[in-house]
């Protein structure tokens, strides 16, 4: 019974909350800039508007272009079902699911970049190349972070792994490793979701875009699905980062869910703060930042080996 309710709340949050995160980020950035900014629920209104619009397809595109948004959304939703939110178990869990998790993201990325190249536009091809290059650096960081947690918890399943900082007693907690992994994962979060300092989501210059340029040709409901999928990706990765950043537990189920929601909004606000405080890095320096994140996670792992 409790399990059914937990799964229900998990699915509800996974489906309903992501656009709210985008809204919080935009609102934080506006407040930092001294503006009032868009309402918190603006992303929902945007999605509703996009669903009502018509679609235009380029003649060079094939089924990949039409299928990509759906595949991306499906992959990210399934990934979202595999991570534990707060101190609760995930609906889908089995040993080795962390590999599936990483490769679901890889699948999503593959289809997005293929759709981009499908249009035959040079801008989109350029964005696709950049996206894949940066993924080469951020995936190892993610895996190394997972390795640290795997070693800490002793299992290879995401649910116990991600909750390890909570369940392992305080004395045996490798704080240095976890701090390093937390910083590394935060950088991965920024990279995967195309946030400053890796990519500016507000830029309108195609030459400087990475993620935005890949979806230039999508319109109407497909664009809406892509935007929604990106928001879910943000939600999922934030939930992962949260486990290492703030492993706290209230004890009582309802309080735990409330705490989780508040913490997610907190992460979104933190992203907003980072976006407001930093400028976007020069493109040739982005690999350096990602390699640094990778090395941080590697260090964390090395320290655990002693």
């Amino acid at each position: 019974m409790m399990v059914a309710i937990t799964i229900l709340i998990h699915c509800l949050l996974l489906v309903m909350m992501p656009p709210l995160l985008l809204g919080v980020i935009n609102k934080t950035k506006a407040l930092f800039a001294g503006r009032v900014g868009p309402p918190l629920l603006q992303p929902y209104y945007d999605l509703a508007r996009l669903m009502r619009k018509g679609m235009v397809f380029s003649t060079t595109t094939t089924w990949v272009f039409r299928a990509a948004p759906f595949v991306t959304l499906a992959a990210v939703l399934i990934a979202g079902l595999m991570i534990p939110l707060g101190p609760f178990d995930a609906p889908i869990r089995f040993t080795g699911d962390l590999v599936l998790f990483a490769y679901l993201f890889g699948l999503a990325r593959f289809f997005t970049t293929s759709a981009a190249m499908d249009t035959g536009s040079s801008f989109e091809g350029m964005g696709a190349a950049r996206e894949v290059t940066f993924a080469c650096f951020s995936e190892p960081a993610l895996f190394l972070a997972f390795l640290v947690l795997a070693r800490l918890s002793g299992t290879l399943s995401l649910s116990p792994m991600l909750r390890a900082p909570l369940t392992v007693p305080l004395a045996g907690l490798p704080v240095a490793s976890l701090v390093l992994v937390a910083v590394g994962l935060f950088v991965v979060l920024l990279a995967e979701n195309s946030r400053i300092p890796i990519d500016d989501p507000n830029t309108h210059l195609e030459l400087t875009m990475i993620h935005e340029v890949m979806v230039l040709d999508h319109s109407g409901p497909l664009l809406g699905i892509i935007l929604y999928g990106a928001a879910v990706k943000l939600f999922v990765l934030s939930a992962v980062v949260l486990h290492v950043l703030a492993p706290v537990k209230a004890g009582w189920a309802a309080a735990d869910w409330a705490l989780f929601v508040v913490e997610m909004l907190g992460v979104a606000a933190a992203i907003g703060v980072v976006e407001s405080a930093m400028a976007r890095l020069q493109l040739r320096h982005v690999p350096t930042l990602l390699v640094a994140a990778c090395l941080l996670c590697a260090f964390g792992f090395l320290l655990m080996l002693r």
């Binding site: 704080v175 240095a176 701090v179 390093l180 690999p287 350096t288 390699v291 640094a292 090395l295 941080l296 590697a298 260090f299 090395l302 320290l303 080996l305 002693r306």
Partner: protein
Amino acid sequence: MITTLNALLVVVLLINLFVLGSSRISALIQAVAVQGVVLGVMPLLAHGRSSLMPGLLAIATVLVKGSLIPKMLGKALRDAHIKREIEPIIGFMPSTLLGALGTAAAIGLAAKLPLAADHAQTLIVPAALSTVFTGFLLLTTRIKAITQAIGYLVLENGIFIFGLLLIEAVPLFVELGVLLDVFVGVFVISIIIHHIHREFDSLDTRRLSALKE
């Protein structure tokens, strides 16, 4: 005490990586200054007993490494009117990766050397070896004279870290003598850098290659 010490040593290791990857020389000088301050605090942590010796050493180290030496290097930098290091032969990113590999090797090597009982949990030996390796890398791969001097400083920092294991064995006045030597060494190096700049109008050590077989 030990976990705080280990956390600080991790900070030192991260500064090493930053120093290997950065090209802005003033950032390098500040990073080494921060490293010096962090190192200055460590004698107080490495030995739980509070006594005069570690305290004096801490103050002297923070003063010299955190303030005096960076000031001297900053002055040399301003005299030379340069801001950035030229892309070295190995490249900044490969240097950082090489430094990370060196750190991993240092951790492996340190595991082979037996440690006394109350030092066994600390990261002092791997941190020391890795910092020495970083300093070496900077010295050998960088092109501007002032960055080579910074590499020398990082090398000395690495040796200082190892010295933490020996605070009782090596008497205070020898540690202070070492510190003084580093200070005077950097002083002399700064003077030479000034002369290099005056003579060649640049700090590019590739110009210093007239003498060869």
